[in-house]
Amino acid sequence: MEKTTESRWAQLWDNFKFPLLSIFLAFLIGSIFIILTGNNPFVAYYALISGSMFGMSRIGETLLKTTPLIFTGLSIAFAFRCGLFNIGAEGQFVIGTLFTVTAGYIFRDLPAPVLIPVILIAGALGGGLWAAIPGVLKAKLGVHEVIVTIMLNYTALFLTNFFIRTSLNPSTLQGDVQKAHSVILGENARLSNMSDLMPIFGNSSLHTGIFIAIAAAFVMWFLLYKTTMGYEIRSVGSNPFASEYGGISISKNIIKAMFISGMLSGLAGATLVSGLTFKIDQAPASAGYGFTGIAVALVGKNHPLGVLASALLFGILANGERKMQIAGIPKEVVGIIQGIIIIFIAGEAILQYFPDLKKKFRRKGPKTEVAEK
């Protein structure tokens, strides 16, 4: 009954060989787009890798970019486990930043060891509440969460812009001149910069949020696989009818799952503000961490530890793309690669269950006949 270490590795390979294959193929196709711009893919990819991983300072920046992606990746993966599509991670992120800055101002006189947890919790709460809206709508009214969460993304953006322009503006709160950003967080509300703690990280802006993110992954793992709540959420995600039959409340678990998912995205925003930007800016569009989180979750097979690895990959892409731009290759290629990765992953899901389908797919026509049990 016990699995040997060898078969554990085999299982791991089995689980991750398709995401890895998808990534490889995506990079392959990406090189076509690079060639079309008259550039050399090897140069491009070298720039990508060197820009993100050569030197501790760069690694620091890569980890910085990875931090929010871990959170949003976990957020979306967690929701998926309950059978929910949380496309609203973007909006929950934004609301998270909103709550963080607001709490940071209201409680600005508290000492750092108290204030920082307070504002991070506030950010998480904001995201959680924003996600609870589609959660409740789905649980109580059966409204599909995809469109609602997307609409809330835009709503969150405009709402936050409104507050930045008005109540959170330095002009309102500090009698300052009107600015395009919110009031700035004081020193006591900021996460420590890693370079201050460990000078090896040079001039990177990496902050302690990365530890919180990694901790969140382990917490999520524990939650999903070791607690009754996790058992129930996974059951609802795999088979709501059987869950109902087993006395599990579908609606309660949907709301719980969305709330927790939202909290994670909210934390993404909270740590970003508290660790890097220290304020929020008015923006025509949101930063995109929520959307990248979808790719992160899918590549990580919706497993907390997979998400960690996957987030790192996308962090590398995010950091390296600037170097690529400098080398003359449009950074949008990275976006294309990300899109292709998801398309392959989406198509791959079926290959996992029907290994002989690949062969049959080559035969003409839709009459693929597959095993009956």
């Binding site: 787009f33 079309l36 835009y154 409104f162 990300q338 899109g339 998801i342 989406a346 079926i350």
Partner: protein, 312 residues
């Protein structure tokens, strides 16, 4: 006063038009059992390629044709993923949206050498059609008609055709059968996959057309993010309209109206409402519509479920 009302009405129709095209596309795919979240991404492709084509071939109709073709090609990806590979349709749709956005950004950079938006073109299809100029001379209503571009008329034609095809032709009967009970259709010899592919391609063409109407039908350029969620609003309109072409039309008019109000806010004397709240209006309206539509709206039974010939 009248002028303002006419302007708003015209605005409503113009703003509803891209929604109508996309929404009717959605009706076809959903009726055949495929969820099409990718409408947004296809619209982006349509909008971009319309402008791009026009740059080299200054004929709006050619531009539209290319936009529709690119739309079909993009939707084909969704088709293969959803129909043949039996992927999760929502995930596939989201993937295409991301890819389309990135692709447009890439092409923008590579072809135009800058990011954000293309150069403006001259002579798109944003004015009222030549052949119908006489309508502009009608007292009172003239100002309404002069505010309509050719796409608006096309939209109504498309709705009419969609209604006829879906409810009055054998093909439409088969589409609806495939969406409700694909196995039943299969056992009478209907090719479920073929029907679904056709519907997906129809939606691709229509969503491409929707995108074109946004770019060469209005602002004469492509700007990143210009679709701003319209593809999803179109889906909501489809649900609100109970998957019926006429219903979808009415729902799109409603959403177009919401947006028109937002744009004309100051003229309407409601300029004191913060602009952010007005901009939120269509999105919040969509949520309210979905909430209200629940219970009354019944999707085609097989919607979202991949069809597997061997498994019952």
């Amino acid at each position: 006063m009248m002028i303002i009302i006419m302007a708003i009405l015209a605005s409503t129709l113009r703003l509803a038009t891209p929604l109508i095209f996309a929404s009717i596309g959605g009706v076809f795919t959903e009726r055949s059992g495929v969820v099409n979240i990718a409408l947004e991404g296809i619209m982006i492709m349509g909008a971009f390629f319309a402008i791009l084509t026009f740059r080299y071939v200054p004929n709006p109709w050619v531009a539209i044709l290319v936009a529709m073709t690119m739309g079909m090609m993009t939707s084909l990806i969704l088709g293969v993923l959803a129909i043949h590979l039996r992927a999760n349709q929502v995930v596939a749709g989201v993937a295409i949206n991301l890819l389309a956005g990135s692709l447009a950004a890439y092409l923008l950079e590579v072809i135009y050498g800058r990011s954000g938006q293309t150069d403006p073109i001259r002579g798109g299809l944003s004015r009222s059609p030549e052949a119908l100029q006489f309508l502009n001379d009608i007292p009172v209503l003239g100002s309404f008609f002069s505010g309509l571009n050719p796409f608006v008329y096309l939209a109504f034609i498309v709705v009419g055709i969609a209604y006829f095809v879906l409810f009055k032709t054998p093909f439409g009967l088969r589409v609806r059968a495939v969406g409700e009970h694909p196995k039943a259709a299969d056992t009478v010899g209907i090719n479920v996959y073929k029907i679904r592919y056709i519907c997906v391609l129809i939606s691709g063409a229509l969503a491409g057309l929707a995108g074109a109407s946004l770019s060469i039908g209005a602002v004469n350029m492509f700007r990143e993010g210009m679709t701003s969620g319209k593809g999803f609003i179109a889906l909501a309109a489809m649900i609100f309209g109970k998957w019926h072409p006429i219903g979808a039309l009415l729902a799109c008019l409603f959403f177009g109206f919401a947006e028109a109000i937002e744009i004309q806010a100051s003229t309407l004397g409601i300029g004191w409402i913060p602009s952010e709240f007005l901009r939120m209006l269509p999105y919040v309206a969509t949520i309210l519509v979905l909430v209200g539509a629940v219970g009354k709206a019944v999707a085609p039974k097989a919607s979202g479920q991949p069809y597997d010939k061997a498994h019952h």
